[in-house]
């Protein structure tokens, strides 16, 4: 028994005194491996009585486990030290670099002689900024809201109380936070409408671009993460005629002169009257009966729109008798695809430099 104890102490000392990883690996066999005293004692087991064998075997097993643990701890400690040393040896005072790249510094002047690379903004960013600029030029502000939303802003204030069948039109992602289905990822940019009207009284002339989320399996025309642009106009005397006019003005500005918008009746809980809006086919202008973009109809469906439902006004505290308004929403990514003839939306999310650097 004392032999085992002494073998253990000896092994411990060998391990703890090893100064480096190499030294540690070198003493492994001697400490508790083939060449260790423990191994020698183990070899004597055969000649002992069963009782002795059981007792001694257990002691040997315990000692081996102890040494194994001690070895692992020592190994981790030495490795951490090595990483620290390496980090220290690679240590850089990054403010040196900052100083060197100040105007008047040496390397900066050298850089001027280098070829200048040019980076590219993402296609979706470029389309979004163009849209923002069009609407800013028409007197709109650009509003933004959170992507994580509550049920009130995404649904209830938009005239979709709990259990409203229209909620089924959106495949909503819910978060594990709070009561079930109370916190979600916004399914459209319409909650920004609600936030705008909650924050102040009309007049409001605003567009709200941003990221939205729906539980769609990715395919050529759907991504679970996508971008929408919402518009909201609330003022005295706003009519559906203005909605049609504003959409037409936008269509002209984005797609070029001669391209128009048209309205078809539809249904959304948050607008009444509601409409889908189509734009003149940007590929064939309605001249190709076999056009794949518009299926020969000459029109491409772009988004939904309508007059703000009085129930929405009531939810946010705007007087529906005094004010009327219109709203619309459409996909920015879809416009990016329209602009470039891109067939598969998933290309937008790949971030392949060969794709990005085309634009």
């Amino acid at each position: 028994m004392n032999d085992v104890q002494s073998a253990l102490e000896k092994g411990r000392a060998l391990i703890m005194e090893a100064p480096s990883l190499e030294a540690l690996r070198a003493v492994e066999a001697e400490a508790f491996g083939k060449r260790s005293e423990l191994a020698a004692i183990t070899a004597t087991l055969r000649g002992r009585t069963p009782d002795e064998r059981r007792e001694l075997g257990k002691a040997l097993q315990d000692a081996r486990e102890d040494l194994d643990r001690i070895y692992s701890e020592r190994l981790a400690r030495l490795e951490a030290g090595l990483a620290r040393e390496r980090a220290a040896s690679e240590r850089l005072d990054l403010s040196e670099a900052a100083g060197l790249f100040s105007p008047g510094g040496g390397p900066l002047a050298d850089l001027l002689a280098q070829p200048l690379p040019r980076g590219h903004l993402h296609l979706v960013t470029q389309v979004r900024e163009e849209l923002e600029d069009i609407f800013v030029s028409m007197g709109f502000e650009v509003a933004e809201g959170p992507e994580v939303e509550d049920d009130w802003h995404n649904f209830e204030a938009l005239n979709m109380p709990p259990h409203h069948p229209a909620r089924g039109m959106f495949d909503t992602f819910y978060l594990k936070a709070g009561p079930p289905q109370s916190v979600l990822l916004r399914t459209h940019t319409s909650p920004v409408q609600v936030r705008l009207m909650e924050s102040r009284q009309p007049p409001i002339y605003a567009v709200a671009p941003g990221r939205c989320f729906r539980r769609d399996t990715p395919d050529a025309t759907h991504l679970p993460v996508f971008h929408q642009l919402e518009a909201l106009v609330v003022d005295e005397g706003i009519s559906m005629s203005h909605l049609a006019g504003a959409l037409d003005a936008f269509t002209n500005a984005f797609f070029g002169p001669g391209r128009h918008a048209r309205l078809r009746p539809s249904f959304f809980p948050f607008t009444e009257p509601s409409a889908e809006f189509d734009v003149t086919c940007w590929v064939c202008d309605g001249r190709d009966p076999n056009c794949r973009t518009c299926s020969g109809s000459g029109w491409v469906e772009l988004g939904g729109c309508g007059m703000v439902d009085p129930a929405v006004f009531q939810a946010v505290g705007v007087d529906p008798e005094r004010y009327t308004g219109f709203a619309w929403g459409f996909g920015i990514d879809r416009l990016a695809m329209a602009r470039t003839g891109l067939a598969d939306m998933r290309d937008l999310l790949d971030n392949d430099l060969r794709f990005i650097s085309q634009f």
Binding site: A88, S95, E96, P146, E147, S239, R264, F267, D352, L353
Partner: protein, 823 residues
Amino acid sequence: MRAPLSWLRDFTPVEGTSADIARTLSFLGLVVEGTEVVGAPLPGIVVARVLATRPHPAADRIQLVDVDLGDGEALQICCGAFNMKPGDLVPLATIGTVMPSGLPIGRRKLRGEWSNGMLCSAPELSLGPEGPEPAIYILPPGLSSPGEPVAEALGLSPDVVFDLEISPNRSDCFSMVGVARDLAAALGLPFSIPGPPYAVAEDVAPASVAILEDAGELCWRFTGTVIEEVDKADVPAFVRRRLTLAGMRSINPVVDVSNYVMLELGQPNHPYDIDRLGGRGLVVRRAGAGEAIVTLDGTARRLTPEDCVIADGEGVGVGIAGIMGGATAEISSGTTAVLLEVANFNPQAVAATGKRLGLLSEARTRFERGVDPEVAGRAISRFVELLGPRARRGETTDVRTVVQERAKIFLRTERVNLVLGTSLSPNEPAELLSRLGFEAVPNGPSTYEVTVPTWRPDCEREVDLIEEIARIYGYENIARSLPRRSIAPAGLTDYQKGRRRVRELLAGAGANEAWTSSFLSGADLARAGLSSSEALALENPLDQAQGLLRTSLLPGLLDAARFNTERQAGALSLFEIGSVFRHPSEEGQPARSGGRVGTGPQTGLVNSILEWEQLGVLAVGLDVDATYAVRAWKVLAGGLRLQSSAVEPFAAGGSGSTLDGAMAAGGSLHPGRRALAVAGGYEVGVLGELAPAVSAAYDLPGRVAFLLLDLAPLLGAPRQSWAAQSASRYPAADIDLAFVVGDDVPAAHLEATVREAAGDLAEAVALFSVWRDGSLWAGRRSLAFRLRLRAPDRTLTGAEVAEVRDRVVAAASVAHGAELRGA
């Protein structure tokens, strides 16, 4: 819903090409998803009577059929279907016929036996869908005599089927009558529903039906009608043909009539075999807790007391109200008498039960959107009429718990014109509404009291009427105009402008903008050396690899970098601006708005979730190291004209940034090559190199430089003043000073000391050389600065320059123990 034109024409004489009608429907909001032209005249296909069937001597899969075309001659046909028997009438494509598919039929030999034509299935004639097994279309017995063209025998005329997408608010348009009514209104055509005859056989007993009191709010109306001798029903051929066109399977005459009435009038109904119905009656009640009913689809459905059940006279459940019947009293070929249920249920109750059971049906679709409570009588009479004169009905028992008042709405012509931007005359809105069955009675000048028809439960408010007026008037006829408003300042906010500037600066400096997903997994975060303990989890992710919301842009950018490196992209630099999210682990942690603009207050729980915009820059390449990140930071700080900016030694959590602590803890950062980006005295982010383990985990070669900034504090940091300073016209004196100073003294600190000591005369202070020589200076290095001294109003004297030099050298020595080299 699939609507055959011939069916719509039962109610309104609509004319025109299918394209024109489809367009009219679309502009009513009844979106036409497809138009199908059916019922080609089928030339060459005639009625044949089966005389005998014989096995083919040399084949198992085909048999020989002898048919008679009316001339008494037996004509041999080879046929691959086995569902006909002698006496049946079947369609035969005669020699020389070209099938609708384009297949020409000739006299040919099949395994040695002649076939003098081809017997046809329903799909081969475009008369119905493909069945599970090959089956010849057996024509109704006694339909016509052999030899007659099949098209004539079936009364087939060319037809058009419109595949309509009905929006959830238009419950009335889940019926042919509803679609026809809209069409007639838009085209200004007459519209009427022919009234079926109403004849009760005195000797047929009235039905026994009841609604139990506790079910009164679930079931608003329940009618029962006994119809006898349905086995002698003589259902017109168009029922089966139209059902097929509408996309429903023909089952048996009684069930076909039931479906036909539902499609025509929008009233779901259910015929029960009365002889298999306990107590020969029906009772409407709430389900018992845990009660189970086996529905027609063979599945046992477990119910709760919130659900409404149709039970037989003995109280045994035989159907789930408004959704699906049970199997017990199903109609079979042996049924001789039925009890017909035509009822009206509470839409919310049907919706709730249907949703909980996940059970879709034609009945549920209609009931949960709202069925006209007054159409029941017409539906019963139509049902009996279609069964033919030999079926006999008893008196209908009609129980109602709720009789809805017809809604009355005030409508102001002025309001109509205001909302639509039209200039309709005072009576025009009333006229347009009357075409849809609304009754408008004048009530004061330019005001009407409008009574809503019972089939339009969706119309409750003046604005609903305005939409109806707009639909019939035509959205296309509304003139376009732009809002007239006084000029108001608009445009991008400072934040939005700043964000654009950041993008342009980075792209100008050679970085490419990426767009990465907002979703990732705990493994993605771990691979990037980040913790997932504060990540928000999705309740219903598309898959587990996308189960969390990103807490950092880093993993997405690393993935994008790997994607490109795997494609031999070489050196690359990517950036992204996007929202990141964190669920605060501690209660009461202040929410950061993260630069969100134009928004109202966040409410409740959402308020405690951190969401803010981050900027991430990542560079990979053989020559890349942490200095790339420093350069990117300098570009941003300079381009944004930050009043003060610095790169400070890394101290995790020192300033409460959202970035540093988590990154250091997770092992994201290279411990020796990391620093804080400071703007206006506040930390706005972290920069440097990623830990070698992280770049290895993404198979990225060499060192990976990164810059992660919180966008709002960056853009909110004070900018340089716009106050102009004229450049001095006097010559400058440059002095170079190289200091040997300890490695623990950041260059930025020494530079600040130099700058301060040099005072106003220092036009520029720039570090131009860093030199390390272990043999000369252990633990120290040489930092060489160039000071450009200049006065705005004079040429500096040698003495002035020397004084500045001495001051700087002294200050550097006192503050940092720096020794002047070569001194």
